[in-house]
Amino acid sequence: MTPIIIGKSVRGESHIRRNTECQDSFLIIDGIHKHDRSIPFYDEMPDDVKIIAVADGHGSESCPYSRTGAKTAVNVFCDIMAEYAAKYRDNRDELFKSLNREGETTRIAKWIVGEWGKRILQHHKMEKREVLFKENGDADADAIYKQYGSTLLGMMITQGFSFSFQLGDGDITYVDKNEVAPVIEGDKILGTETHSISKKSSWKKTLTRVISFENGVNTPFMFVLSTDGWLNSHSSIDEFNKTCRSYFEVIQEKGLKTVENNLEGWLSETSTMGCGDDITTVFAYFPDK
């Protein structure tokens, strides 16, 4: 059960028109890339463990550094999940069990949100950016976090299961030859707002799900993690599902490399003809046994 993972971010059509940068970020940690992050516990992480994270910076005028916020969010998710996997490297059953415990996933959510905040403050200080103050004269950390607001989607994949994590909008989708279905059914917010990692309480808005591979799965299948620009560019959920299925079929027919080579153009076209937002998609494809 080893997936092949590819991903791409494109700058949205409306961002190009307004000359603003792409606010999305993604990170894939697999056997090859895990040593790119020079953090010791990546070396201790079992080789079969893969970690994916996708983040969508808010991009509004009040969040001028949300690209950094998104990049920090994907780094934090991967670092924490790598550390977690390293801790349980000799006890996979316990890893599986712990991620199925609500209390433990709450702890992980708090850990991620807290670590994100810590790194954002460090970054803000390092960049010597303006420190905002409350009326009582105290430094206003909340106002700093807000400038870096982002969503976060993440997934850890092992030989035996997947663990999915969602904070804010975006989609994690399961696709096989018979089915296209959301892995996590989030509480969708209408309009243009989302839950944000920039809020202290955002851990309460996180949703997680563990899917076991032990009882048999229908290979080939894939997971897709995507920022909301992808879904919002489709005329309906049915059309979005149709797209997921089509990508799956093209992967089967032409191979992941062909999809990877075409992905940037496809996503740019999607943004132009759709909602104009940045789009990021990451595909974790599990080939036939």
Binding site: E193, T194, N241, G276
Partner: protein, 261 residues
């Protein structure tokens, strides 16, 4: 050389932005008032088309609701702004505002609007006091998720308009615009039609965050959960399509010079 293949997948579409005019056509609007409304909306349509063209990733859809003795839509369904033709309204009858809210509520239902639309814009124009029991209908309307997200503006026409009722609708005194003569009414209609559609579709450079989260709290390295009762923490604006704050500085200043209604 890698193979270039056409984009796979389903139908793509820009995000719909529903814009509603809700026009009081009661007897007190007869004459100059309804004439100005007709002329002003007709003349602002080309500017709305221009605004829409600035953002091809949003599809501006127009619909008009008139109310007097009863209420009714002028078109069966929303019409693309570039295809919208204004039909002159006539004034007669009473002010059944509650019936207008009932029809609006039907249109703003999530099943009707879908989930992927941009927040709708509703511009209510009225010169009088409701003659029906509007409160129940307004309460029902205000509970709808899309009504909560909508940009709601009222244009108070003349000195007999019930501003308290209009305030109940907008929830914001600054968005009850005063139009006490023909010139101001035309100005307010133009502002509400163009500035608001531009902000909602994300093309305004002046857009700021829809700051519903003044009490927002932020992450803490300690993972402190002292705010655990904050289960209804409001959301942040999502990237790409712009938040929905109006530039209040651009609202035309009231001008009562000349004839006052």
């Amino acid at each position: 050389m890698s193979e270039v293949i056409a984009r796979p997948g389903g139908a793509l579409a820009s995000r719909p932005l529903h814009f509603f005019w809700v026009v009081d056509c009661s007897g007190s609007m007869f004459g100059e008032k309804i004439g100005v409304v007709n002329n002003a909306i007709q003349s602002v349509l080309p500017e709305m088309v221009d605004e829409a063209e600035e953002n091809p990733n949003a599809q501006l859809l127009i619909r008009t609701l008139k109310f007097s003795t009863g209420a009714s839509w002028l078109t069966d369904s929303p019409v693309k702004v570039e295809d919208y033709a204004w039909e002159d309204l006539e004034a007669a009858g009473v002010t059944d505002l509650g019936k207008a809210f009932d029809l609006l509520a039907g249109q703003l239902d999530v099943k009707q609007m879908g989930e992927r639309a941009l927040p709708p814009v509703i511009v209510l124009l009225s010169d009088g006091q409701p003659t029906d029991d509007y409160k129940k209908s307004l309460t029902k309307f205000q509970k709808l998720p899309w009504a909560k997200k909508a940009v709601k503006i009222a244009i108070s026409i003349g000195q007999d308009a019930d501003d308290d009722v209009l305030l109940e609708f907008t929830g914001n005194r600054e968005l009850v615009l005063q139009a006490n003569n023909a010139k101001m009414l035309a100005k307010m209609i133009k502002w509400a039609s163009t500035a608001v559609s531009a902000v909602s579709s994300g093309v305004s450079n002046n857009a700021e965050e829809n700051n519903q989260d003044d009490d927002a709290s932020s992450p803490d390295a300690s993972g402190d959960d002292s705010d655990k009762n904050d289960n209804n923490a409001p959301a942040q604006p999502s990237g790409g399509n712009g938040p929905l704050i109006l530039d209040m500085d651009n609202i035309p200043e009231p001008d009562d010079a000349g004839d006052v209604w």
